[in-house]
């Protein structure tokens, strides 16, 4: 077996994100389908306006939440597979060397779909637990005739079966593409570097001189910081995503409290924090895992824990604040659109203004959260010893 269920089970990140996406989408989509059933019962002008407003909200939320989270899951899946191949390239290379084809190996990667299924199923189940509450809340002022909760098989197919199948297929295809390279590149210690270099060699010459002087002037720690950032660009994306979620969701949850309901606000806060935590921890763990040798060697040579963590993790700090800024802009834009466009015709929607204090509170909380995580990992670095590295050979 090339990839075991155990490897797939490690993809908690994908499961959690899938779970959140499916939870939100199931609630709204199911509501949408149930709402459609009462369309011909609508009588008054008021009811029709309310109906269309809710329909529009449902669409926006499904698209925004579902779309964003789905895109992230895809990136995360690719990242995991690439990471898996990178860390197992010796075994995979040997399989190829003795005559297994790329497809034959890649087909085993369907297992990665299991984690998608687990997350999606959990999200779906969770949605059905929350929905009675959610339905009551959506219609708490009784502007609409009562919407009854039903189970729609098409929602299950669309949000659980389809993603599982699609992700399994995607995993296999992507793995196959990644494995379609000369065997020697897999067997050799560091094929990414070789690849990158040969790609660079083609269009080099011009930029080379500047790079040379620049590289020699920077200190080792600076060099390492840069090369860590450069070597895994996907991780940069995840860190941006984590802080983006944190910033957008916390701030939005406060506005939601006023615009919609406390429950929506709390849900948003919970989902935002979960996503931010999971993604951030995942990204940082990957950085540390991928660099255990470097860390061990640095400690052997006498670099302090602080210098090690500064070199490997320090580069991500500015990136995370950029993510925070993006999240702030995003949530403002989204709420503006919701209030000005979607709810334009609905009466009684409160005025929406950008909330500076909430932003500041969110920023400070984020800074504390981020630094605490960094501190935790700096302490964790201590546990990495040369002995482990030597024993693994």
């Amino acid at each position: 077996m090339v990839v075991g269920i155990k490897d797939a089970a490690k993809l908690t990140g994908i499961s959690v994100i899938m779970g959140c996406a499916v939870l939100i989408c199931t609630m709204f989509l199911n509501y949408y389908f149930d709402m459609n059933l009462i369309e011909d019962q609508l009588a008054s002008e008021q009811e029709i306006i309310m109906y269309h407003a809710q329909e529009a909200t449902v669409r926006v939320i499904c698209l925004v939440a579902g779309g964003c989270l789905l895109a992230t899951s895809v990136v995360m899946l690719f990242f995991y597979i690439k990471h898996y191949i990178d860390t197992h390239k010796k075994e995979l290379g040997i399989l190829k060397a003795i005559g297994y084809g790329s497809w034959k190996i890649a087909i085993h990667f369907w297992v990665f779909g299991v984690s998608v299924f687990l997350g999606a199923a959990a999200g779906f189940g969770g949605a059905f637990l929350l929905m009675p509450w959610f339905y009551a809340l959506q219609n708490k002022d009784h502007f609409l005739p009562e919407v009854l909760l039903r189970f729609h098989p098409e929602v299950f197919a669309l949000l659980v079966i389809l993603p599982t199948a699609a992700f399994s297929a995607l995993a296999v295809c992507y793995a196959c593409i990644k494995l379609k390279r000369p065997v020697m590149l897999l067997l050799k210690e560091n094929f990414q570097v070789l690849e990158r270099k040969s790609r660079k060699a083609e269009g080099m010459v011009r930029g080379e001189k500047r790079e040379r002087t620049q590289k020699t002037e920077a200190s080792f720690v600076e060099n390492l910081k840069r090369s860590t950032l450069r070597s895994k660009k996907t991780l940069v994306f995840f860190i941006v995503f984590a802080s983006f979620c944190f910033s957008a969701m916390t701030q939005m949850s406060f506005s939601m409290k006023d615009l919609s309901s406390e429950m929506m606000g709390a849900m948003m806060l919970l989902i935002g924090l979960t996503l931010a935590c999971v993604t951030l921890l995942l990204a940082i763990t990957t950085v540390i895992r991928g660099n255990t040798r470097t860390i061990a060697m640095m400690q052997v040579f006498g670099y302090s824990q602080k210098e090690c963590s500064q070199a490997l993790l320090g580069g991500y700090r500015p990136v995370s604040y950029i993510g925070f800024a993006l999240g702030t802009i995003y949530q403002y834009g989204l709420l503006r659109v919701m209030v000005d466009v979607v709810f334009r015709d609905v009466e009684g929607v409160p005025v929406y203004e950008f909330d500076v204090p909430v932003m500041l509170v969110s920023l400070v909380t984020f800074a504390i959260f981020y630094e605490a995580v960094m501190y935790y990992y700096t302490e964790k670095i201590k546990g990495i010893s040369m002995k482990e590295i030597m024993l693994e050979g």
């Binding site: 210690e189 590289k215 090369s227 040579f301 006498g302």
Partner: protein, 230 residues
């Protein structure tokens, strides 16, 4: 001078706990070339790691001159390694994402050494500064790790089977570089090997047998890397 007194070291826990080093005492003169010989599993690497401050012994003391490093905290120990010790391992452990120059810089920066280019030239890699470890042969990689260790100008150089993964010709070359650089910089060498011939290059030879020192002797005549058998 490095002085070890009654060093004991255990591995494993509970019922599986067993001694790897049993009451080891020895001393190494400054500027010496000492070799630790012994069968596989006799505890050579463990002794080297303990002597150099990479691992802590359960009992005994290790003194560098008057300084007892076994009393150090982790932070002090790191600081101590930074200022005094260089390492070379059998598996090189170069940083794969960094080229030769940057790898050597890892050592050089610790000592504020700006002329580390000389050391790269001295190990014969002046032409390959921009190459990555994956583009070098085993011997070349080991020479990078020699340069990296020496660029931090250590007073003590610890080597764990530096030629273990190299063929005869390349092994001799690496050893020759090390000995020549020792003449130039005057650091102390403690080297683990199980190649009996290499021991003829050293001044002091310490033999180990299942966690104990079985013999220490001094070579009257020392051979060069090209005179020994292999």
């Amino acid at each position: 001078m490095i002085r070890a007194e009654g060093i004991t070291k255990y591995y494993g826990a509970g019922k599986n706990r067993f001694p790897v080093l049993k009451e080891i005492s020895l001393s190494v003169e400054e500027g010496d070339f000492t070799v630790i010989l012994g069968a596989s599993g006799s505890g050579k690497s463990t002794l080297l790691n303990v002597l150099s401050g990479l691992e802590r012994p359960e009992g005994g003391r290790i003194c560098y001159g008057e300084t007892d490093i076994t009393a150090f905290s982790d932070r002090e120990l790191t600081e101590f390694r930074k200022e005094n010790v260089g390492f070379i391992f059998q598996q090189y452990y170069l940083l794969p994402n960094m080229n030769v120059d940057q790898n050597v810089k890892m050592g050089a920066d610790l000592a504020g050494n700006r002329n580390y280019g000389d050391i790269i030239d001295a190990v014969g890699l002046g032409e390959k500064k921009r190459q990555y470890p994956s583009e070098l042969s085993g011997g070349e990689q080991q020479r990078v790790s020699v340069a990296r260790a020496l660029a931090k100008r250590p007073r003590f150089l610890f080597l764990d089977e530096p030629t273990g993964a190299l063929d005869e010709e390349t092994g001799r070359q690496v050893l020759d570089y090390i000995v020549r650089l020792q003449k130039e910089y005057g650091f102390t060498i403690v080297m683990v090997t199980h190649n009996l011939n290499i021991a003829e290059m050293a001044k002091t030879v310490i033999r180990m047998n299942s966690g104990r020192i079985s013999d220490i002797h001094t070579n009257e005549i020392r051979k060069t890397a090209y005179e020994i058998g292999w």
